[in-house]
């Protein structure tokens, strides 16, 4: 099944117009010795057969576990209307809006998405999306380095370890110095961060809430850095922005983050969506597409891609970034989600998360051997210290139907007994209670000898 409409008759008619007698002649420029050595794929299947094959694969995945797993990617409720809106094929089968007159749907939606991001983060200007929160953070670092013409970036240890790994991967061949400062009692270590600032520093990268779920007010770090001409990049959890201090309120220069929590399914890792917002001063250094509002000759309001002179198709090797295709359909989903929930709805989501997390902490605290790390306030994610290897405990909890959280030892050596637990508005009182009971049972029935870490593949 190849979705080709033309019949053999029509093909022959077309060949005739081309002055050719066979389809093979169309490929005469490809010499015999450059033809494929092999092209053996399983034979083409019908739609019905493909559905069966993929249903079978889908059934082999444990997507039904009660999800307390976060780490930057959360199991939030997605209203049905988001799917309905994003399934309109005028949206998803459209291309990048380079011809604005016939893309006003996409363009206005992206303009509104940019507006959403600015309102959520209290920043002045946002772009129309990047691939994900990690590449957004990398692009922000590049912006800061170019804007300040300095080569050093300080990275707070509370920044998502996956994003930190990405930063180092992208910059392995570039002359950028990274300096990591571990957290202190869960929050940014001011003393050590300030001690690391110098005239070579372009930016300090922070995250709020950080990977441990801990929240902070970074205004003091912003002030100190600005006095030295250093920029602040803050990666934020967008749902939390409904309640917590947004980056614009404390003077952050570039805000980034992962938009998956705003109406994008977990989907085993992607597609997700990176958002980026900045001060107007930095707009020309921003990567990615930006939609602007303007008028036509009849003074009708319309939207266009603007500031394209920064982008790869014009500036080529001098472009601010190489990004072309972005996550437009995901941006549409985010905008639909935020519009459907609205101001009060998003506040409700955030409040439900906070309260349920507090309830969970209270329940888990009572489990013998478990300590809830509470030296600093958290949003909806927090750390448990277990009396044995967290990965072993997590494995047992899975057998009981829970995805119980993320064992921190994987990314933080020395923290093998710590488990990162996330609670969203989807988790019920009953589920939280069942988690506590199961945890107690698992801890009681697992001997600590069995908690020794296994090496190698997962």
């Amino acid at each position: 099944m190849s979705f080709i409409a033309n019949t053999r008759e029509q093909q022959n008619e077309m060949l005739r117009i081309c002055g050719l007698s066979s389809i093979e002649e169309l490929f005469n420029d490809i010499p015999k010795n450059l033809r494929p050595r092999s092209f053996s794929l399983p034979s083409g299947k019908s739609e019905l057969e493909v559905l069966q094959i993929l249903e079978n694969y889908a059934a082999q995945n444990y997507s039904h576990l009660i999800n307390f797993l976060g780490g930057g990617f959360y199991d939030h409720f997605i209203p049905s209307a988001v799917d309905a809106i994003a399934s309109r094929s005028e949206f998803y089968t459209a291309y990048t809006p380079y011809q604005p007159e016939l893309s006003q749907g996409t363009l206005q939606a992206m303009y509104e998405f940019q507006s959403d991001i600015c309102r959520l983060t209290s920043m002045e200007v946002a772009n129309a999306s990047l691939y994900d929160g990690g590449t957004a953070l990398y692009e922000a670092c590049q912006m800061a380095i170019h804007a300040t013409e300095r080569p050093k970036v300080i990275v707070d240890g509370g920044v998502n370890p996956i994003y930190r790994k990405m930063l180092y991967s992208y910059t392995a061949n570039l002359s950028i110095d990274f300096c990591e400062i571990p957290v202190s009692h869960g929050q940014s270590n001011r003393e050590k961060v300030f001690a690391s600032l110098d005239e070579k520093t372009a930016a300090v990268v922070l995250q709020n809430p950080n990977f441990f779920g801990v929240i902070d007010n970074h205004a003091d770090i912003v002030e100190k850095c600005h006095s030295m001409g250093i920029l602040i990049i803050q990666s934020v959890y967008p749902v939390a922005m409904a309640l917590l201090k947004p980056p614009g309120e404390i003077g952050v220069d570039i805000a980034t983050g992962e938009g998956q929590s705003l109406g994008i399914p977990l989907s085993f890792g992607g597609p997700y969506i990176g958002f980026m917002a900045a001060t107007k001063k930095l707009v020309r250094k921003m990567p990615g597409r930006i939609v602007g509002r303007t008028i036509d000759k009849k003074e009708r309001e319309g939207f266009v891609l603007t500031l394209q002179a920064r982008e790869q198709h014009i500036r080529r090797e001098k472009a601010t970034s190489n990004i072309c295709t972005n996550e437009a359909l995901c941006a549409l989903r985010v905008h639909a989600y935020l519009s459907l929930l609205g101001t009060q709805g998003l506040r409700d989501v955030a409040n439900l998360c906070v309260n349920k997390a507090l309830y969970a902490k209270a329940r888990f605290k009572k489990v013998p051997g478990v300590k809830v790390m509470e030296s600093s306030p958290t949003f909806n994610e927090f750390t448990l210290r277990l009396p044995m290897d967290a990965a072993e405990v997590a494995g047992k909890m899975i057998e009981h139907g829970f995805a119980p959280g993320f064992p921190l030892g994987r990314y933080y050596p020395g923290m093998e007994n710590y488990l990162l637990v996330a609670v969203t508005e989807k988790r019920t009182r009953y589920e939280i209670g069942a988690f506590a009971e199961t945890l107690e049972h698992v801890l009681r029935t697992t001997s600590s000898r069995a908690g020794l870490a296994e090496k190698g593949t997962a």
Binding site: R284, Q308, A309, R310, I314, R315, K318
Partner: protein
């Protein structure tokens, strides 16, 4: 008409002596090719320039062009008017649309540049 009181580069900048300084802008041909100019990223005063090296950027809707310093020296002044009203360069590229002024340059480098007639011939040959 290409004014003959100044010199030109192969990258379409013009240079006119203004007292002890060299005033720099882009030619009428350049502003026409760029189209409506939307932004000028002015160099900072005090920045050192090297002949032939890019020192600032002019943006239009369809292009972002580097402006190459026609002379080595130091930026002495910049024209804020083109920053707040970039269309000035389109309307008046030779007078009000000047972009920056260089000091401490070599007169020999200036003499090396094309005069208005040679520049006109150069533009015709490129077309």
């Amino acid at each position: 008409m290409t004014p003959d009181d100044r010199k030109f580069t192969k990258t379409h900048e013009w240079v006119k002596i203004d007292g002890a300084l060299a005033m720099v802008g882009i030619s009428d041909h350049a502003q026409d090719s760029l189209g409506d100019i939307t932004f000028v990223e002015l160099p900072s005063v005090g920045k050192k320039t090297a002949k032939g090296k890019a020192c600032c950027v002019i943006e239009s809707v369809k292009a972002a062009s580097d402006i190459y310093a026609p002379l080595s020296g130091e930026i002495a002044a910049v024209n804020r008017e083109v920053q707040s009203q970039p269309e000035t360069i389109n309307k008046d590229p030779y007078e009000k649309g000047w972009i920056f002024k260089i000091k401490d340059f070599s007169i020999a480098e200036f003499d090396d540049l094309m005069d208005s007639q040679s520049y006109e011939a150069f533009v015709r040959s490129e077309a």
